[in-house]
């Protein structure tokens, strides 16, 4: 399973979170929403201007900016 940065993920691509490298406020906010290592995610799509990105995880939809997705590494399925 290749490990990529979340920004590089295509629409509809799925994977498992491998690492969150953000600390401080951003890290706390990301983790509170369930983005912790081991969580399964699918990229649902991107906003009309390609940013932010919408993720599907644990049955809900979460949005974050590409610049924030940079702190998330994902092991993608294919």
């Amino acid at each position: 399973m290749p490990r990529v940065n979340m920004r590089q993920m295509r629409s509809k691509q799925s994977g498992t979170i491998a690492a969150i490298t953000a600390a401080g406020e951003l890290g706390r906010r990301i983790r509170d929403m369930g983005l912790v290592p081991g969580t399964r995610i699918t990229v649902q799509g991107r906003a009309p201007l390609y940013d932010p990105v919408a993720l599907r995880l644990m049955g809900f939809t979460l949005t974050l900016r590409n610049s924030e997705a940079d702190f998330i590494d994902v092991e993608v399925d294919d």
């Binding site: 969150i20 890290g27 799509g45 009309p48 644990m58």
Partner: protein
Amino acid sequence: MEAMIALAGNPNCGKTTLFNSLTGARQHVGNYPGVTVEKKEGIYRLNGHRFNIVDLPGTYSLTAYSLEEVVARDFLINEKPGVVINIVDASNLERNLYLTLQFIEMGMPVCIALNMIDMAFSRGIKIDHEALSRLLGVPVVPTMARSGQGKEDLIRAARQVLEREGGRTELKISYGPDIDVGLDRMEAMIREADFMTDTYPSRWLALKYMENDEQILCLGKQRDAQTAEMLESIVQEVANHLQLTVDSFPEAIIADYRYGYIRSVLKQGVISYSGDRNRLFVSDKIDKVVVNRFAGPLIMMGVLLGLYHFTFTYSEIPVAWTEAMFGWMGDMVDRYMPGGLLKSMIISGVIDGVGGVLGFVPLIMFMFFGIAFLEDSGYLARVAFMLDRVFRIFGLHGSSVMAFIVSGGIAGGCAVPGVMATRTLKSPRERLATLLTVPFMNCGAKLPVFALLVAAFFAEKEALMMFAITIISWIGALLVAKLLRTTVIRGESTPFVMELPPYRLPTFKGLLIHTWERTWQYIKKAGTVILGISIILFALMTFPGLPTDQTTAFEAQREALRATLPASIAGELESAADRTELSAGAQAAQVRLLEIDAAEAEAALRHSVAGRVGTGLETLSRWAGLDWRTNIALVGGFAAKEVIVATLGTAYSLGEVDPEESRSLSEILARSPQWRPLTALSLIVFVMFYAPCFVSVVCIVREAGSWKWGLFSMIFNTILAFTLSVAVFQVGRLAGF
């Protein structure tokens, strides 16, 4: 029995719906002490018991990250509610339980409302609530807040928790060997030193130290610096060790273990899925179109434009009713009250002033109803999602959209709650930029001014003009935000981590409560501040009265006119009762008499305190095409924008001595020789951008933390507005309008 119950849960878990369903109309909206986070309270009665229900702000966690979280936490710690009903979205159990665990770890007496089980079921999620209850050690009651189903069982379960004196379940989650050992050491130390144990549970304090919680760290230093330092050194020790061994830090590991704990609970037969867990639900299918790259923005424009049509078309009839009602009240006072200062104060100050404001209540209700629908349905979050990229360009945040919309981004909000809505923004810079620019939006108090001018001068294109006005205010606000973010408030941007809630059809009751709350705030403001200001302005516009030599001069003019009239006509005018038909000759004579009266009234107004201020400013305002009457109104608008229409009404009705003909203000303006479409446009621009009302300024001062920003917004905005309206007027004049 009487007890306090706190409702807590994630945003969008159906908490407010449950609150409304429990308390109905018996609710009260206020603020938490010292902060601007809304506090809702209500009463619920069951079998002779009285429960005081407090709706805590919706949060995902209990860190010191956002003000809402701190408020919720402080409330639980300080007010000690008898039981916390934690509303949990059944279709989103994993993430919702993250907050639940934190309540239990705090030692709160918790009762879980497993809400929206019907929706979860339709998504193929089956939950064994008894197993969940057993594993967490707290009661779990399935509910459907929308229909109110299960709420009595829920309260019964909550009562059992209330009566179970001291039987709080201590939940000790393991955070791995390193952290656990650290926590144990810290807990022992906290117990020994009695370190803040009067307010907080010791284990929880240790955990918060480990999580590096700003609020607790700060409090600890103040209370007992020595113990605090020892605790911090343990945390540092653990952190160093974790950094070396697993390249992570305590806060991250705690979150991982919490989610791990939840997953292990859920795996023990609590949850089962049928069908594909990640299949597309209705909400996702709607999103495929609604946030689509091409269709999304078009739909968004359509929705916003639709909101205008909805508001302006359907509110027309009730607006006419309220106007007619105040017209009738004016007529009644005029007919049955003896003449004099008091009468003219009641008609010109009270009825015209307050009536001008209240006349727009139906319009504002329709607008709020529409906004509440967009908000509760989940569409506003999509707007933030689609617009974040744009907002970031101007140094703002996607969530700034909310503050802008509440302030009147979809015309008809109010800058006061808008400024307060900026509280959800954590970054001080984006927040400051947002709260300084939201007053440019078209709040419900500016709407009447625009509606008046548009009705008078652009009647054929009403909806289009109002839409254009909104667009102009947005462009202006965003450009100013960019200007501020590149000059006085430079700096980095903050995280945009936001949930897109599933689309839900809002409940009618919820919409009505929401609409009524906001409308009531508007009415209260109209009934108190505006009433007082209308009376003060009436006094400013009445005193000092004309000197006797001038009044005698006007009286002499009247006498001279009467003397030239044939005896028959003079007699007819003398004896004519209010509504009798006059002959052509008498009518002509009366018109001339009225002209003299109007001239006298105008002279009197010019002579008054307000008139002198307005006339004094005319040398400047003439550049923008505005006369002294408008100046008076604009000065009044400083106090509250509603006053602009009220004052214009007073200014013009004072000069209007024929009470039989109740012409509306917009007709008066349309006929007035000083007014043309370009003047109206110049005034619209000025009103849009000039100093925020006094209440907003006070809010800005409080939110920004210094008078400096309040003064800044008054001075900067007024200079900006004046420059723009002069530009509009001068360019328009040169272009021949």
